[in-house]
């Protein structure tokens, strides 16, 4: 009787021991997993840190400026491109009346259109790239929106298209998609890429491969 109960207790103790060991080994396994995960996390954090540094390095303003000048037709914003409120932006004219408007206009004012629209717009807004000129010409009869524009604009309504104030609105109205085929100025349709000065193009391209290595080489190279 006593032997039996002792056996039972012994068995229980053995079972408890086995479970204990089993649990202990499971915990050890988990701990190893945790340690390896922690190592991975630290490695990832270091990688993130490096990538952040690289991101900032690649976002260096002077580098971005060079890239923007090389690859984009965008220019720094100018004070005259700001309007006081969105209500002042002229609405795009309805497409139907626009089409017949062109030929009579060209005929009526030969002086103003003789060199094509681009030529007229050139003296009005020299720093503005000529890209957007034709689209604006038509779309901006309501030029007084411009802040520094001369307030005398509304005098001429239909041909007002060619007046300086309208031309100044050019960059604003750029996305306007008025149909172009009637325009007598083919050169305005050329892509803006050829506007980039040659000197800009020749600037050394930023390193393309292994920028991370290049960056860390900077770190290690000098000490």
């Amino acid at each position: 009787m006593k032997g039996k109960s002792a056996l039972v207790w012994l068995g229980l103790a053995g079972a408890a021991g086995a479970v204990l060991f089993q649990t202990s080994y499971t915990v050890q396994n988990r701990e190893e997993q945790l340690a390896s995960l922690n190592r991975k996390i630290v490695a990832e954090q270091e990688a993130i840190q490096i990538l952040k540094a690289e991101w900032s390095y690649l976002n260096d303003p002077s580098r971005l400026e060079t890239l923007a000048r090389t690859h984009l037709s965008l220019r720094p914003t100018d004070a005259r491109q700001f309007v006081a409120s969105a209500d002042l932006i002229p609405m795009r004219p309805a497409p139907a009346p626009v089409v017949p408007e062109i030929p009579p206009m060209a005929g009526l004012s030969p002086l103003q259109t003789q060199g094509g629209i681009v030529k007229v717009s050139a003296p009005a807004a020299p720093p503005a790239p000529p890209v957007a000129a034709p689209a604006v010409m038509k779309s901006a009869p309501a030029a007084p929106a411009k802040v520094p524009a001369p307030p005398a604009a509304p005098a001429q309504q239909a041909p007002a298209v060619i007046e300086p104030a309208a031309a100044k609105a050019a960059p604003k109205a750029q996305p306007a998609v008025v149909k172009q085929p009637q325009q007598p100025s083919p050169q305005t349709l050329t892509p803006p890429k050829n506007l980039v000065p040659a000197s800009v193009k020749q600037q050394p391209a930023p390193p393309k491969t292994d920028s991370l290595g290049v960056m860390i080489a900077r770190l290690g190279g000098n000490r």
Binding site: Q28, W55, S56, Y57, E65, V147, L219
Partner: protein, 589 residues
């Protein structure tokens, strides 16, 4: 029952030994007892040994006694893996960060074949010198650095060589993504990552102990524009150097600070000391005519001088060995706005003397010219102030000579004259939005408003027309100071500066450009004064930073703008339009 178990249970026998005593002792029972006792002792010893082993086993396996401490916490997902905190600009762009790298060191005692090891090492790290490495590896030391801060690729290559006795150590390396752009502000660290200059030195403890990034008031975009234009001015006028700042007049934050020539913070040590010199804060200069800002504010604030008062600028003033004269003398009586507009030294002296010498000294103290600026840089110069403050000092100080202050002093003080009259301590740390701004009133709002009009007058009718920018109502004051060479002033070495602010109807930002020893060019008709050198640069800077700062452009001819910014030369404020005639081309002192 106990009797029946006696023979079987030695342990039971111990307790049950009493009854057995009653039995007669035979040699057999004695031998049995002896054997039992021996068995018991043996069993006890064995039990003890196994218990000890078991206990140790449990300790080693279950309790992991003696093993390394267990990791019970997951690594924090957002904690930076490096020790030194980042420095970021006001929009969160990185200015300085730490990267983990590996450094290679060796234990020469463990290196078996130094010659072979050195040859292999040089093959993967070609920048190392074979002889040097060989000497290091064959030395008697137990620790030599081979190369600090390897790239991951180099580390892998060295690892693959499998040379015994070479070890890697994880190190941190400070990295400045903006390189030279903000080097004077951010500063640099040494090999062991201790700050040696700039913010890195000033906030060394903070950067070590607090892993959250330190946010500066600097705006990297403005910094770029400022540096580009200041560098262009240095190149155009073949100057020795230049300083430039963009400053928020209402909060006292420095938005950009450039000092040329500058340096690469990754490699600051083998450079000319001159490149590390921060002209904005450490350099103190006789600022010249820009001091007329403070002279005018002081005279108006004293109440003894009013805007429409006139002063005799007919003849030059003789005092001691000095003669005070005007460059472009009008040789007539000038009103206060005219003195400011034409930058008349004689008129300024008369204004200062009218206000009184003690008043002047007290005002200059209020402007912060008697102590270093509160800006958070270790490179912070003490102003050179005359002591005692005699009449001759008062006279020269009225037009910016005889007192040397840093450009930072000048900007912070000039901002206080136009922002409504509150002196804000200059800072390089971003101020929290909505936080209460420290500051003390130095002049009345009325004087400040008059100063705004005077600032604007210099740009519309005075010496700094080149600084005007369509849409951003610019105002300011030029300054051209002859530099002291030995005991006398040089006629050809100058500091040309311009302190500009915009928009003048509601001043928000101030821009300072100061060019050291500009040489006149044909384009400037032989002039190298503040109006010709610094003012156009400030104009170009404002033109570019205005849109970035979100300043609403306005029509300069709008009646409300004119009413808010214009002043007649007779000292009256016009209601509509200005009636002032134009003035000769900029030539100022």
């Amino acid at each position: 029952m106990s009797d029946t178990r006696l023979g079987y249970d030695p342990i039971g026998a111990v307790y049950a030994s009493a009854p057995t005593m009653s039995k007669p002792r035979s040699s057999l029972s004695v031998a049995l007892e002896q054997t039992r006792n021996r068995l018991m002792v043996t069993a006890a010893v064995v039990t003890l040994a196994f218990t000890a082993i078991g206990a140790k086993l449990v300790d080693a396996t279950l309790l992991r006694g003696g093993a390394e401490p267990r990791q019970i916490q997951a690594a924090e997902a957002h904690a930076p893996p490096v020790g030194r905190a980042d420095i970021i600009d006001r929009h969160g762009n990185l200015l300085a960060t730490s990267l983990a790298t590996a450094s290679l060191h060796a234990d020469p005692k463990v290196v078996i074949d130094a010659k072979e090891a050195a040859r292999k090492l040089v093959s993967v790290l070609p920048e190392l010198d074979y002889k040097d490495v060989y000497e290091k590896l064959s030395s008697e030391k137990r620790f030599v650095w081979i190369k600090r801060n390897l790239t991951p690729r180099q580390q892998a290559q060295v690892h693959r060589l499998g040379i015994p006795g070479l070890y890697f150590e994880r190190e941190e390396r400070r990295f400045y993504p903006a390189t030279q752009l903000a080097s004077h502000v951010v500063g640099f660290t040494g090999v062991d990552n201790n700050g040696l200059a700039g913010i890195e030195q000033q906030f060394d403890k903070r950067l070590r102990n607090d892993p959250t990034p330190l946010q500066l008031s600097i705006d990297l975009r403005l910094q770029h524009i400022l540096k580009k234009e200041v560098a262009a001015a240095v190149e155009e006028f073949r100057a020795l150097g230049a300083a430039g700042m963009v400053y928020d007049v209402n909060t006292g934050e420095v938005l950009a600070m450039v000092s040329l020539p500058d340096f690469d913070p990754h490699n600051p040590t083998d450079l000319d000391e001159n490149t590390r010199f921060n002209r904005n804060t450490l350099g103190v200069y006789e600022m010249g005519s820009t001091f007329k800002i403070f002279n005018s504010a002081m005279a108006l604030e004293s109440g003894k001088v009013r805007l429409h008062d006139s002063f005799d600028a007919t003849h030059s003033i003789q005092i001691g060995r000095f003669t005070i004269s005007d460059y472009h003398g009008k040789n007539r009586w000038l009103t206060v706005p005219e003195i400011f507009q034409h930058s008349s030294n004689i008129g300024s002296v008369r204004m200062a003397l009218t206000a009184g010498i003690p008043t002047q000294r007290a005002f200059m103290q209020k402007m912060g010219f008697m102590r270093p600026t509160p800006v958070e840089l270790p490179e912070n110069g003490w102003p050179l102030v005359p002591n005692p403050w005699r009449e001759v000092n008062a006279m020269t100080i009225s037009f910016g000579h005889g007192i040397s202050v840093s450009p930072m002093h000048t900007v912070a003080a000039a901002a206080s004259t136009i922002n409504g009259g509150i002196m804000r301590p200059a800072t390089l740390l971003k101020r929290e939005a909505g936080a209460e701004l420290p500051g003390e009133r130095v002049i009345s709002p009325q004087t400040s408003e008059a100063m705004r009009r005077l600032f604007r007058l210099v740009v519309t009718e005075g010496t700094a027309k080149a600084a005007d920018v369509q849409g951003y109502i610019v105002g300011g004051k030029t300054g051209t100071a002859d530099k002291q060479k030995g005991r006398s002033y040089s006629q050809n070495a100058r500091l040309s500066s311009f302190v500009g602010a915009f928009p003048m109807h509601d001043p928000k930002y101030m821009v300072l450009v100061m060019v050291d020893e500009p040489k006149a060019t044909a384009k400037t008709y032989g002039y190298a004064t503040g109006g010709w050198v610094a003012a156009p640069a400030v104009g170009r800077i404002i033109k570019q930073i205005g849109p970035l700062l979100g300043v609403q452009p306005v029509d300069p001819n709008a009646p409300e703008i004119i009413a808010a910014t214009a002043i007649n030369t007779n000292g009256t404020v016009p209601v509509k339009g200005s009636t002032v005639a134009s003035v000769p081309p900029p030539r100022t002192h």
